[in-house]
C-alpha cells in the first residue's frame, strides 16, 4: 500500500469537501463510540496490568487540551514561554467551583466570571512580559505557578477554598429529559457482533451524566479550538507569529508589541481558566495539590509532545498528559523489571523522557510525524487563485474566503 497512488484533493472541489466530511464524520463516530463503550470505566488488561480507559479520564483530557490550547497561543504562536498556565488553570477551577458550590451557579454561567477574570489576570501578568523576555519570563511564570497552592491555602481564603482539604462541588451536569441517551445505548447494544462492547442493560443515572458531560465538554472544546483557529488565521494571528519570529522586525513593520503580547497572555489565561472549569466539573473537587508547578510543566510537555504551534498538537498533548502518567502508575509489573522500580513517580519520569527524546528526534511533535505519514497517502493541493477576468472553477467557493492551511483541530483521517 505504501507506494500506491496517493489520493489528491484540490481545495474547493467537491472531492475535497467529501474528504473533509468523511474525516469529520469518522471523528464524530469515534466520539460516540468512545462515549458509549467506555462510559463504564473500562479496563484493558495487558501483562497483568489493568489500564483504565474510562470516559471521565477522556473528559479530563479535554480540560488539559483547552489549557494547552491557551499555551499554544502564548508560547506556540507568540513565542512567550510561559510556565504559569497551571496558575490560571487552578484559578478557573477554584473560581467556578466556588460559584457553583457556594452560590448555586450553573457550571456554564460560571464561565461568565471565569473568562473575564482569567483574561484580566493574564493581561496583568502579561505586562511584565513587555519588559521581561525569554528565559526570565519563564522564571517569573514558574514562580507564579509554584505559589498558587499556598495562595489557595491561605487562612484568609479558607472559607472560600476549603484549604488543604480541597473544594468539593457536588453539582453535576444532568442531561435534559428529552435526550434519548438510554435509547441510544440500547440501540447500540443491539448491533450484531460489536453490540456487546456497548455494555448490557440500561444506563444508570451516573453513566448518563458522564456521557452528557463528555459531549457538552467536546462542544465547548470545539468552540475554543474554532475560535483560536480563526484567531491565528486572521490578521492579529499573523501579527502574533511576527512577534514570535522576530520582535524587532515586527515592531518595525508597525505591529504594536505590547498590545499583542498582553492580548495573547489574556487569551491564553482565559483558555486556561476554561480548562480549569472543565477539569473541576468532571472531577467534582479542586484540591491545591493538583495545581502545583508540576501541572504547568506537564502542559509544556503536552504542547511539545503534541507539536508546538499547532492546534491539533493541543489535542494530542491533552490526551498524552491525561493518560500516560496514569497508565504509568497503573503499570505494576513488567517482565524483566523488578516491581520496586515500577512504584513511585514513573509518570513524570516518562514525561521527562518523552520531552527529551522528542526534542531530539521529532522536534515538531507527534503531529509532525502524523503529517509526514499522512502526506504519503493524501495530498491536498491548494486552490488555484482565480485569475483576473476568468471564471472561477468548479465548486465555486465563496470568493472572499482565503484558504491558508487546512486547520481542522482534530486530525481528519
Amino acid at each position: 500500500m505504501a507506494n500506491s497512488p496517493r489520493f489528491e484533493f484540490t481545495q474547493g472541489t467537491a472531492g475535497y469537501a467529501n474528504y473533509k466530511w468523511l474525516g469529520w464524520g469518522l471523528f464524530i463516530l469515534l466520539l460516540v463510540i468512545v462515549a458509549f463503550a467506555f462510559n463504564d470505566t473500562g479496563q484493558i488488561t495487558l501483562l497483568d496490568n489493568k489500564y483504565a480507559i474510562g470516559l471521565p479520564r477522556v473528559t479530563k483530557a479535554i480540560s488539559f487540551m483547552i489549557a494547552i490550547l491557551g499555551l499554544q497561543v502564548v508560547a506556540g504562536f507568540t513565542g512567550q514561554l510561559s510556565l504559569g498556565q497551571g496558575f490560571f488553570f487552578g484559578t478557573g477551577a477554584y473560581l467556578s467551583s466556588w460559584l457553583v458550590a457556594d452560590h448555586n451557579w450553573a457550571w456554564f454561567t460560571s464561565l461568565l466570571v471565569v473568562i473575564p477574570v482569567c483574561f484580566l489576570l493574564g493581561m496583568a501578568f502579561g505586562i511584565p512580559a513587555l519588559r521581561i523576555r525569554g528565559l526570565y519570563l519563564a522564571l517569573v511564570t514558574l514562580g507564579l505557578a509554584a505559589v498558587f497552592p499556598s495562595i489557595v491555602q491561605l487562612k484568609v481564603l479558607e472559607d472560600q477554598t476549603a484549604g488543604a482539604a480541597g473544594k468539593l462541588t457536588d453539582s453535576d451536569l444532568v442531561p435534559p429529559d428529552w435526550l434519548p441517551l438510554d435509547g441510544a445505548a440500547t440501540g447500540m447494544q443491539k448491533i450484531p457482533l460489536i453490540g456487546k462492547f456497548f455494555g448490557d442493560g440500561d444506563l444508570s443515572g451516573k453513566e448518563e451524566q458522564r456521557i452528557w458531560t463528555f459531549f457538552v465538554m467536546v462542544v465547548l472544546a470545539f468552540i475554543c479550538f474554532k475560535m483560536v483557529g480563526n484567531l491565528v488565521k486572521s490578521r492579529p494571528g499573523r501579527a502574533l507569529r511576527a512577534v514570535r519570529d522576530n520582535e524587532t522586525s515586527a515592531a518595525v513593520t508597525g505591529i504594536n508589541l505590547s498590545f499583542y503580547k498582553t492580548m495573547s497572555f489574556g487569551v491564553a489565561s482565559a483558555l486556561g481558566g476554561v480548562g480549569g472549569m472543565v477539569y473541576v466539573a468532571e472531577l467534582g473537587i479542586a484540591s491545591p495539590g493538583d495545581f502545583t508547578q508540576l501541572i504547568s510543566i506537564f502542559f509544556i510537555v503536552g504542547m511539545v509532545v503534541g507539536g508546538v504551534g499547532t492546534l491539533s498538537g493541543a489535542v494530542v498533548g491533552g490526551l498524552v498528559i491525561a493518560f500516560i502518567p496514569a497508565w504509568a502508575s497503573d503499570t505494576q509489573n513488567l517482565p524483566g523489571i523488578p516491581e520496586r522500580w515500577l512504584q513511585g513517580p514513573t509518570g513524570p519520569l516518562i514525561m521527562g523522557a518523552m520531552l527529551i527524546v522528542l526534542t531530539f528526534f521529532l522536534p515538531g511533535g507527534i503531529i509532525s510525524g502524523v503529517r509526514q505519514i499522512k502526506a504519503k497517502f493524501v495530498r491536498i493541493l491548494p486552490k488555484m487563485p482565480a485569475l483576473a477576468g476568468s471564471t472561477a472553477g468548479a465548486g465555486t467557493p465563496p470568493p472572499d474566503e482565503t484558504t491558508v492551511t487546512p486547520s481542522d483541530p482534530s486530525g481528519d483521517a
Binding site: 514561554l81 511584565p128 519588559r131 521581561i132 525569554g134 528565559l135 526570565y136 519563564a138 522564571l139 517569573v140 514558574l142 514562580g143 507564579l144 509554584a146 505559589v147 499556598s150 495562595i151 491555602q153 491561605l154 487562612k155 524587532t248 508547578q293 510543566i297 509544556i300 510537555v301 511539545v304 522500580w341 512504584q343 513511585g344 513517580p345 514513573t346 509518570g347 513524570p348 519520569l349 514525561m351 521527562g352 523522557a353 518523552m354 520531552l355 527529551i356 526534542t359 531530539f360 522536534p363
Partner: protein
C-alpha cells in the same frame, strides 16, 4: 531586639544556601545565557549521593561530600555532552525544554530510588552556638555556612582567574564566537562550567539539609530553585559576587520582611517571586550584572 537578631541569623544561614545554588546557576548563565531549570534537581540528586555514601558506605562525612561533588560534576559533564551540546546554544527553546525534561526525570528517579520519606542528613558542622544574646543565638551552623560560601566564592574566583581553563571560560562567557575564532574549544569549556555548577550545587544542598531543622527529600529543591533564581536575578545573573549578595538579601527578606509585614509564612515563596519580578521589571541586569545590549 532579640527576635530581630534571631531572624537575622536565620536569614543569613538560609541566604547563604540560596547563594550557593545561585552561584551554580550563574556559572551556567555566564557562559551560555541559559538558565538550567534542572539545577536544583542536580543538586538534590547529588545530596542523595552524599547521603548514601555517608550513611550506607560509611565514608566520613566531609569525604563523602567531596566524593559526591566529584560524582555529580562528572555526571553533569556527561549530561552536557549528550543532551545539551547537540543544540545551537543561541536557540533557547529546545534547551529550556531539555532542562525541564531533566527536571522531571531527575526528580522522578530520586523519588523512585529513595522514595519520598524525608531522610535525616548527618551533621556537617559542629552543633551548638557561638554565643547567645538572650534568646537569639548565633549557631555554629550559621557561621560555617557563611564560611562555606566565602570559601566557594574564593575558590571559584581563583579557578577562573588563575587557571588556563578559567581563562578560557571567561573568554567564552564574554564572547562565544570570538573565543571560538581564537581557537578555544567552546564545547569542553562549557562542559567545565556545567561540572563546576553541579559540584557547587551539590555542596549547597548538603549545607542546606545539614541544618538541624531540615531533612533530605526529593522535593527539597523544588521551591529552593525559585529562591535561588530570585537571588541570582537580584544580584545579576552573570555576577558571582552578586549572587552571594542576592542570596543573603533573599534570605533576609524571607526571615525579616515576611514576619514583620505579617505576610503568612506559606507566602514567603511568593515574596521571592515578587522580588524577582520587581528586579526584572526595574533593573533587569540585577544589582551587579552587566546590562545586555540588544543588536538588530
Amino acid at each position: 531586639m532579640e527576635l530581630f537578631l534571631a531572624r537575622i541569623f536565620d536569614g543569613l544561614s538560609n541566604g547563604s544556601t540560596y547563594a550557593l545554588i545561585a552561584m551554580a546557576l550563574v556559572m551556567i548563565f555566564k557562559a551560555t545565557t541559559l538558565i538550567n531549570f534542572a539545577q536544583g534537581e542536580f543538586a538534590m540528586f547529588g545530596g542523595f549521593i552524599v547521603w548514601v555514601l555517608a550513611t550506607q558506605q560509611g565514608i566520613p562525612m566531609w569525604g563523602a561530600v567531596i566524593l559526591g561533588m566529584l560524582i555529580s560534576a562528572v555526571a553533569a559533564a556527561g549530561i552536557e555532552r549528550t543532551l545539551i551540546r547537540p543544540f545551537d546554544p543561541a536557540d533557547h527553546l529546545p534547551l529550556v525544554i531539555i532542562t525541564l525534561g531533566l527536571f522531571l526525570m531527575i526528580n522522578a528517579i530520586a523519588g523512585i530510588v529513595w522514595r519520598f520519606d524525608p531522610q535525616r542528613f548527618p551533621e556537617l558542622f559542629p552543633s551548638g552556638s557561638v554565643f547567645s544574646i538572650g534568646n537569639a543565638s548565633l549557631s555554629w551552623y550559621t557561621v560555617f555556612t557563611l564560611i562555606t560560601v566565602a570559601v566557594v566564592a574564593g575558590g571559584l574566583t581563583l579557578l577562573l582567574n588563575k587557571t588556563k581553563i578559567g581563562l578560557a571560560f571567561r573568554a567564552v562567557s564574554s564572547n562565544l564566537e570570538s573565543s571560538e575564532l581564537v581557537g578555544i574549544k567552546v564545547g569542553p569549556t562549557l562542559q567545565f562550567g556545567w561540572a563546576i555548577a553541579a559540584a557547587v550545587g551539590t555542596l549547597g544542598v548538603c549545607v542546606f539539609v545539614a541544618a538541624p531543622i531540615r531533612q533530605l527529600e526529593p522535593s527539597v529543591m523544588v521551591s529552593g530553585l525559585i529562591f535561588a533564581v530570585s537571588a541570582a536575578a537580584l544580584g545579576g545573573l552573570d555576577s558571582l559576587g552578586g549572587s552571594i549578595i542576592g542570596g543573603l538579601a533573599i534570605g533576609l527578606v524571607q526571615s525579616i520582611a515576611v514576619p514583620y509585614l505579617r505576610i503568612p509564612n506559606e507566602l514567603s515563596l511568593g515574596a521571592a517571586v515578587v522580588v524577582l519580578m520587581l528586579v526584572l521589571l526595574f533593573k533587569p541586569s540585577g544589582l551587579f550584572g552587566t546590562p545586555q545590549v540588544e543588536r538588530v
